[in-house]
Symmetry: C2
Subunit: 317 residues, 2 copies
Amino acid sequence: MTRIDEIGEDALIAMFAPLLPDTDSEILGPGDDAAVLSVDGDLVVSSDMLVEGQHFRNEWSSAADVGWRAAMQNLADIDAMGAVPTALQVSLAAPGHTDVEWVMGFARGLAAACAPHGVGVVGGDLSASDRIVVAVTALGETHGTDPVTRADAGDGDVLAVSAPLGAARAGYELLQDPDLDDVSEHPAVEAFLRPSPRIGAGLEAALHGATAMMDVSDGLIRDVGRIARASEAGIAIDSSLVPIAEECELGAAGRDAGTALEWALTGGEDHVMLAAFPRGRALPDGWTVIGEVTDAFRGVRVDGAVHESQGWDHFGQ
Amino acid sequence: MTRIDEIGEDALIAMFAPLLPDTDSEILGPGDDAAVLSVDGDLVVSSDMLVEGQHFRNEWSSAADVGWRAAMQNLADIDAMGAVPTALQVSLAAPGHTDVEWVMGFARGLAAACAPHGVGVVGGDLSASDRIVVAVTALGETHGTDPVTRADAGDGDVLAVSAPLGAARAGYELLQDPDLDDVSEHPAVEAFLRPSPRIGAGLEAALHGATAMMDVSDGLIRDVGRIARASEAGIAIDSSLVPIAEECELGAAGRDAGTALEWALTGGEDHVMLAAFPRGRALPDGWTVIGEVTDAFRGVRVDGAVHESQGWDHFGQ
């Protein structure tokens, strides 16, 4: 292997940059003080970090998996506004002993996630640190609809999700189960390491009149709570309606009854779209109603009660 | 003190967000999956990371200093394109034991740097990590001029800087000198901890016809080399013309003759603008010619020779 501190920053960028996808919006790409893009409509911007040991482990995730996930969760945030992603800025901090090949694999993972959507990686930063930190800012533009925030769900709206839930959580549980041998080819593990939300589901929801939307990143109940709080409303979830991913059912096989449902309710990182729609509106293909918005209470109730586990807090216990 | 893991992510954001400046371009600010901005002209985007222990030390820099520097170096990157900064995305990874007051101080530092320029902090991310990492993406827009890249310096152009150099390097040298007592109020140290490039100098240079431009972040010689390489040209620096910051001279007092000049040539982080202009054009106020662009050789020569020290590489030795 060759360590990145053996070849230096400028040489590393020269190797890395050609692997990155570009975008039709790009006027000036990587290599200058800033990138330059053309923007139609309004600009939509979102940022996320991935920290080694917190969001990924190198013994589980390949470099390409990390690049894929860093891209995909940011594309999902743009989609969750009902906007179209166009470009990423990707900053990478890594120890000097990191293998150059890791950085190239990371770039290939970014490209694999972005290129099918015409999204380019237009710039970023490289820095030394004692562990790997990836910081992505995704840029997109509105496409004939107003941005769909979390704040406008109203009394009587139905709440729906764009796809079944729990696959990523199941993969995480399998990976950290000390009693299991190699699970790397289990479909739930693949779903955890390479989440594949359908980018464009959010735009379709916007075109179907979604009143509030976000992607499920920290667990369904926690994220539903964010829509409820932003919209100053209550949301009632009927757990019998919550679609459970096949990978989640497979991962929960042999465990206590109810495990798969619990993972679907509280697991994060599927990046499935979650939206409220006016009652009676046709939903886009593939969406499932799981509950309703109400003025009768505040917060989230599952089958009429406050659920014990709320999902993932990045600092909390 | 209160630790950030005692109050949790959502509560921390609720305390942090009101301290952040906003911008006239903002359609939707922090708190949703993405921010929404209006953009006139083309979009200019740049990213930088600050890593604890690499780019700052908590025993030297207050939280507000870190916020200030994170903002300012990114504003300088937008200015270095001849564009106008409008907004920042700011992501922060920090240990759970970090004092909530550190995060508030960081927000106040961001605000102090941004607000005078009408720049808002419109979004970002919070994450746990074992040391502090700040990742900023700055957004700006062109303002009636084409973006000024590093690539179009031409034979015969003059090379100029917008302000004297070496202040930040002098402050760094003073801080790490074990023979010195408290230097926290030395003007060079203040310049290192709170770099204050004049934002707008880059736009003025663009309006005066600059052919190539960047800000000096990794040292004059190294960064001049980047313009030379991108422009496929040679650049000759006359060291007797290089303006040395007063803080640099003060910091070098009592050291070997030539120390202040060496710091001005190789020190980084002043974020002064560096640009090439067609010979004979009037320069903006405050700029100083330090050399010229030539087709007679490639790379950088100082007083006719290759300089021994090239400046700062983030991974190299």
